[in-house]
Amino acid sequence: MSVVKIHKKPKLKNPILVGGLPGSGYVAKLAVDHLVKELDAQLLGEIFSPAFPPQVLVKKDGTVELMRNELYWWRDEKSDTSLMILTGNTQAVSPEGQYDIAEKVLDTAEDFGVKRMFTVAAFVTGERVEKPRVFATATEPKLLNDLKKHGTVPMKEGNIGGTNGLLFGLAKLRRIQGICLLGETSGYIIDAKSAQAVLETLTKILDVRVDMSALENRAKETEAFLRRMQELTHREEQPQPKKEEKGLFYIG
């Protein structure tokens, strides 16, 4: 169904897969895109699928791009840490397509020697979140204790929908060690604050240094937007002057 086009075959030593496709609040995509940008990760391959939405994206400059998922690679020459990073401008829409993409990503990851992976997702509360927590779940229960040391909250029940969840679930079947980190979000906004929280946890676990300032600025914008929304809601909730009272101020 879907097609994986590999552009480069870099030699990676025990690479770790990090996946984050667009989903609720764009938490996963924002976090992973920031990681790609700040690490200056290189394009490894692209995935095209008829299960992606049948459309193209017209960008701000008027040029178009196909719907696609992308795989990037990065290697830290000092520590020997290697990453394969999955991102994209969409997720497959149908469940068949989501399974297909997740399997193809894992096939490719295994070809490069991946034995450990992280997926990023959103933990949707439906309510405004002041300080987003990071929830964690893992393919092996013993990993959860280690994750607690990084300040995460164990997520024990619930669903993780879409390709981000399937990657994690299918990894277990392949005996790839998998950890899913979920940023708490209302789900109603593009949530850079939640993305920052989850990326801080991820980079701490991976022991990778990433400059967060661009994401921080976006998070501040998110906060400012939320404050404006709160002010507007507050204003609407205030009792409005009656029409007769208004009339007293105008004589014509």
Binding site: P50, P54, L57, V58, D61, T63, V64, L66, M67
Partner: protein, 236 residues
């Protein structure tokens, strides 16, 4: 069919039917010769959801034929030619399963014909009048600026027309989209807008130097009523 590095003009059912009316008009007025039909098991005769250009998984619609003058006709994509330099394609929206396959098949065929540029004719629902563009390369957009056509839309371009543009890129064919500005009608998104079509075709004939008389466009379209009220019934 002998064609010399043709330019392909593609219009499909879409917003205010601007692209579809445009290709119908080109076929009739140039006039063009039909040289190929493309059929697909993914072409519904009746859509489960509207508009037709937003395909959703799990809603394939219903197969069937349409009757024209008492004769059954399968849904199809039509390839027409004018002289040896223009291909006009009348598109059809497939269900979710078929959209990519149909777009790819069309582009494969255009590639075999030696097509150098695909121009997709569509609409942008921002209101007002005029024509805007999008393209596969910045160079093409700069070329359009000389003709007074600017970019102005950012976001998803749905359905076959959008995919044609994307698939053209994969085959190294230049892709340009021209959008006639129109006002959306949420209650009947594909209701024809002849004014936007006329503006669009005006630019097309300028770009390709086509001997196109646009005077018959508006009266012919005005006879049409809502696309939701076909002349004949649908039965299964």
């Amino acid at each position: 069919m002998k064609l010399s590095q043709p330019v392909a003009l593609v219009g499909s059912p879409g917003l205010r039917s601007v692209g579809l009316i445009a290709v119908d008009y080109l076929v009739k007025k140039l006039p063009c010769k039909l040289f190929l039909n493309l059929y697909s098991g993914s072409f519904p005769a009746e859509y489960a959801l509207t508009p037709s250009y937003i395909a959703t998984p799990g809603f394939p619609g219903s197969g069937g034929v349409a009757l024209r003058n008492g004769v059954p006709e399968l849904p199809r994509v039509e390839f027409h030619s004018w002289q040896n330099r223009v291909v006009v394609i009348k598109g059809y929206q497939a269900d979710f399963e078929g959209q990519y396959q149909v777009a790819e098949t069309i582009i494969d065929h255009l590639h075999r014909l030696g097509t150098r540029r695909v121009i997709v004719l569509a609409a942008h629902g921002k209101g007002g009048e005029g024509v805007q563009c999008a393209g596969t390369e910045k160079r093409i957009l700069e070329e359009m600026t000389k003709h007074g056509i600017e970019t102005g839309y950012e976001g998803p371009f749905f359905g076959l027309s959008g995919l044609i543009l994307g698939m053209a890129m994969t085959k190294g064919i230049e892709g340009l989209a021209l959008f006639g500005l129109t006002t959306p009608m949420p209650e009947d998104p594909e209701f024809p807008d002849p004014t936007a079509t006329k503006a669009l075709l005006g630019k097309v004939s300028e770009l390709l130097n086509l001997p196109l008389d646009l005077s018959e466009l508006e009266p012919r379209i005005e006879k049409k009523t809502s696309t939701k009220k076909p002349e004949s019934g649908f039965s299964v």
